[in-house]
Subunit: 167 residues, 2 copies
DNA sequence: AGAATTTGTTTGGTACACCAAACTTTTAAG
DNA sequence: CTTAAAAGTTTGGTGTACCAAACAAATTCT
C-alpha cells in the first residue's frame, strides 16, 4: 500500500529522494550517509538498495558507490518537487513554522499525486500573481488567524471598497 | 512509522474512521461491512479489531457488535475532521474533481496533524470571509489555471482597481 | 428444531521495513 | 605491507498488515 503513481512504497520513495540530495551534495551517495540522513541502520540501507537496484532505479553493485539511473533520477526529482511545492504552501501560505512545514511536507509528498501538486502550484502562483492578492493578502491572512475574531472596523472598510469596486 | 499524533498506524486510523461512519449509518459496525467498505477480507478486520480492542479504542468481544469507546470515537472524529477539511480544500479551493479529492484526502489525512489542519481551516475561512476574495476569487482562480496565460486585458483592469483602492 | 447460509474467527503464509549483531570488504595508518 | 578502523553486507528476528482457506458461531429458512 501507500504508493502514489511511482509504484513505490513511501520508504523507497524516501530513499530515492535522499540519494538525489546526496548525489548533489557529494558526487555520489554512500550507504553510511543515506543511513544517517534517514535515521536507519546501514543494514536497512543495503536491503533497500538491492530492491531499488532490481527495479532499475539505482546503479548498485555491492560495495560500489551509488548513483541514480535516469529512471530513478526522474522519480526522485518528482518526489523532491512535490516536497518543495508542499513545503512552500505550508510555510509561505499557511505560515507554519519551518520545522512543522518540513515534517508535514515529508509525509504529504507521498499522499499527493502529480495532478494535485500541479494544481497546488497554480494556486500558489495565483495568490502571488493577481494584484489584489499577493504579499498583502498573505499578511491579511496572518492577521486573520492570529486575531480571533477579526476587527470589525477593518472589515467594514474592506467591504465598502469591495462594494465600490463592483458598482 | 506513519502515524500522526494518534499513535496509530494509517491502517488503524482508517479502521476507526470506517467504524465511525458505519455506526452512524447503521447503529453498529459489522465485520462484514467494515471489510467491504475498506476492501479487505473479513479475517483482516478481526485482527485489526483485536488490536483496537487492546488499545481501548473499540468495544469488542468476539462475535459481538462493534462500537467505539469514547477514546476511540474522539480519535475517529479527529480523523474524519481532517478528511473533511482536506477534501473541502482540494475540491472547493483547488477544484480537483470529487474522486481525486476523495482519494487524495484519504491519504493526506494521515500526513497532517491537528495544527496543520487547523491552520488550513483558518485559511479556507479566510478565503470565504474577506469580501475581496470569496466565491469570485475562486472563480478567478479557475480561470487562472484553465487559461494559460491569463488575459492581459483583465489583468490591467484588476491592477487599476488595486491601485485605485490603495490610494 | 434442523439444515443451509451468512457472518465471524483462526491459522499458516507472504511481503515489507526495520533492528541487532556477526561478518566481510575496503580504506586508511603505521 | 600489514593491521586497525571504517564502511558495507548478511543473517536471524520483530512487528505490521494483509490474504487464503479451514473452521466455528450465529442467523435464517423451512
Amino acid at each position: 500500500m501507500s504508493e502514489q503513481e511511482t509504484g513505490l512504497s513511501e520508504s523507497l520513495e524516501d530513499y530515492l529522494e535522499t540519494i538525489l540530495a546526496l548525489e548533489k551534495e557529494n558526487k555520489v551517495a554512500r550507504v553510511k550517509d543515506i543511513a544517517e540522513m534517514m535515521g536507519v541502520l546501514r543494514g536497512s540501507v543495503s536491503g533497500a538498495l538491492k530492491s531499488l537496484g532490481e527495479k532499475g532505479l539505482v546503479n548498485y553493485e555491492p560495495y560500489s558507490f551509488i548513483t541514480l539511473t535516469p529512471k530513478g533520477k526522474a522519480i526522485a526529482k518528482e518526489i523532491r518537487r512535490r516536497h518543495e511545492v508542499i513545503h512552500d504552501f505550508l510555510a509561505n501560505v499557511l505560515q507554519l513554522d519551518t520545522a512543522q512545514a518540513q515534517e508535514t511536507a515529508c509525509r504529504m509528498e507521498h499522499a499527493m499525486n502529480r495532478a494535485a501538486v500541479d494544481r497546488l502550484v497554480k494556486f500558489i502562483e495565483y495568490i502571488h500573481y493577481c494584484p489584489r492578492t499577493g504579499r498583502d493578502w498573505i499578511e491579511a491572512f496572518v492577521d486573520f488567524y492570529s486575531k480571533t475574531p477579526p476587527e470589525p472596523e477593518q472589515c467594514r472598510r474592506c467591504l465598502k471598497e469591495w462594494e465600490d469596486r463592483r458598482t
